[in-house]
């Protein structure tokens, strides 16, 4: 049986007349990296705040590691590490002092504090910053320091709001490596991000939110299946023009002298038959393979589909 680290059920949150979340339900499996995507204002930060016990939902329930966020917020806080989208560091303290204070705050025994600080520094590769004061840090360094702080008490779940925002490509690679390492160590990571290519690389599961409602929750392949009812294919060959097979049932999207891209269902038998047909005509086939669309394309499609359905319904 799958164990869930986070289970949200029917969350509703209103800010005055604005409904930020409506009937938002999703689950995050333990030991996975789960991406949380949605447009600006879709309700990501509100959801993350409810999950992190910072904000009360007007209705619905949310359980984190089995505990109710409304009934037992302080016990849950002790078991999660939260990195908000924006945070400030005390410029006059060194990183080692800063982390040391958090070991005290989390009630870590005196004898373990130095070791815990070192572990956090090593995990986030911030050893070289340890004795530097926390000013004039780059955005990437600040994020790593924030992560070091979020990890200081060895939390079971990490909740990260836009951790890749403003990071350069090198820092993003480092962040991805760190998140993978944390997953290997059994941590659950729930993160929102606009960098969908990164999420695609590291996430096991995905929660997609639009206008305060979750439109998908599950693994990435499931999302593709749900959003991509017809597969896009590419056929390329060494020829001047590619003849279509007699029983072609797809829709040509793009074509050139040496390639065709089309959408449609193609069974392995049909693929083999088509290739044989082309070879019989003396055409050397280079490839006939499905094109995998990016998560970004799928997300854009999902949002457009929802909007079309809403227009049709109205």
């Amino acid at each position: 049986m799958t164990e869930h680290a986070i289970v949200a059920d029917g969350l509703l949150k209103r800010y005055g007349r604005v409904t930020a979340l409506r009937d938002t339900s999703f689950a995050v499996t333990k030991g996975t990296i789960t991406g949380f995507i949605g447009r600006n204002g879709a309700g990501k930060t509100t959801t993350l705040k409810i999950v992190s016990t910072l904000l009360d939902a007007d209705d619905g329930s949310c359980r984190v590691l089995g505990g109710d966020v409304r009934k037992d917020p302080y016990a849950i806080r002790a078991r999660i590490g939260f990195l908000p989208d924006a945070f400030e560091l005390p410029a006059t303290l060194t990183l080692r002092e800063y982390l040391g204070i958090f070991t005290e705050l989390y009630g870590i025994p005196r004898g373990d504090r130095a070791r815990r600080v070192e572990t956090s520094l090593q995990l986030t590769r911030t050893e070289e910053l340890a004795d530097r004061r926390l000013h004039a840090l780059s955005r990437g360094e600040e994020q790593r320091v924030g992560l070091a702080r979020a990890l200081i008490h060895n939390p079971e779940i990490l909740i990260l709001d836009e951790p890749a925002a403003g990071l350069d490509p090198h820092a993003r690679v480092e962040l991805k490596e760190l998140l993978r390492l944390l997953r290997e160590r059994g941590k659950t990571v729930f993160l929102s991000s606009h960098v969908l290519a990164d999420l695609e690389e590291i996430c096991d599961e995905l929660v997609v939110i639009k206008n305060g409602s979750v439109i998908f929750s599950g693994d990435i392949d499931g999302f593709r299946k749900q959003m991509h009812s017809t597969t896009r294919w590419r056929l390329s060959a060494v020829t001047r023009s590619i003849p279509l097979p007699s029983n072609f049932r797809g829709e040509v999207i793009e074509s050139g002298p040496t390639y065709i891209e089309f959408e449609g269902e193609l069974s392995p038998r049909e693929r083999a038959r088509w290739i044989a047909e082309l070879v019989d005509k003396g055409i050397d086939v280079c490839e006939l393979a499905p094109l995998r669309s990016s998560l970004e394309q799928e997300f854009a499609k999902a949002v457009e589909d929802e909007e079309e359905q809403e227009v049709a319904a109205s």
Binding site: L54, I101, L105
Partner: protein
């Protein structure tokens, strides 16, 4: 709470605000004593008014000192976590500790600063006027309680808004406290009022702290 006091102490040592808060009231008193004395030619002991005895001058200087120590205490409470409140970085503390602990640490730190400033100021007054203000023991108790009340005002104001202009409210509150502190008939009652105000303001500031972070 020790961790938060440690944090506040380290931060205020590094940005030198601790020195300003602790030594500021004594410097104000010293400056006013030097100014008043120099106006009529320098001589020792210094005075506020030539017509008063050394003990009376010390009492007057002690009253001014109390006002500035309270004001600096309020400002210290406002200042110590102001950037954290303004940028919501205070949230990282609230993930680890309850809001009431954060507010208590803030008030404890600022009250300790205010009381220390008063002690330093009394030493300066004794050295400069060659006399001590009267009823020093009672004054110390009154100042200790007033320091907590003044600090709780600062803690509340910063959670309402961390804009620096809000310090004016803290200053006004201390101005209102001063005549009461000096009135013998009001003093014992005032201690109770200050204790109630402190508890109320600390509780409200803890509540607002959590709300501000979640907003």
């Amino acid at each position: 709470m020790i961790a938060l006091l440690h944090y506040a102490f380290l931060k205020s040592i590094r940005d030198r605000s601790l020195a300003v808060f602790v030594l500021g009231p004594a410097l104000v008193i010293a400056a006013s004593l030097f100014g008043a004395t120099l106006a009529e030619g320098f001589r020792y002991p210094l005075y506020v008014s030539r017509q008063m005895s050394a003990a009376q001058n010390a009492e007057m200087a002690g009253l001014i000192l109390t006002f500035f120590a309270m004001t600096f205490g309020t400002v210290a409470a406002f200042w110590v976590f102001r950037p954290e409140v303004a940028t919501k970085a205070i949230g990282s503390f609230l993930m680890a500790r309850r809001p009431i602990t954060v507010s208590l640490a803030q008030v404890t730190f600022a009250a300790a600063v205010a009381f220390s400033a008063w002690v330093v100021g009394i030493a300066a007054i004794a050295a400069l006027t060659s006399a001590l203000p009267p009823a020093l023991g009672w004054s110390a108790v009154a100042v200790a309680v007033a320091s907590i009340a003044a600090a709780s005002i600062g803690a509340l104001v910063v959670t309402i808004s961390p804009q620096p202009a809000m310090m004016v409210w803290a200053f006004l509150a201390c101005t209102a406290l001063l005549p009461l502190l000096n009135h013998p008939a009001v003093r014992p009652k005032l201690l109770y009022v200050e204790a109630v105000v402190s508890i109320l303001f600390i509780a409200v500031s803890a509540f607002l702290l959590e709300r501000r972070w979640a907003s």
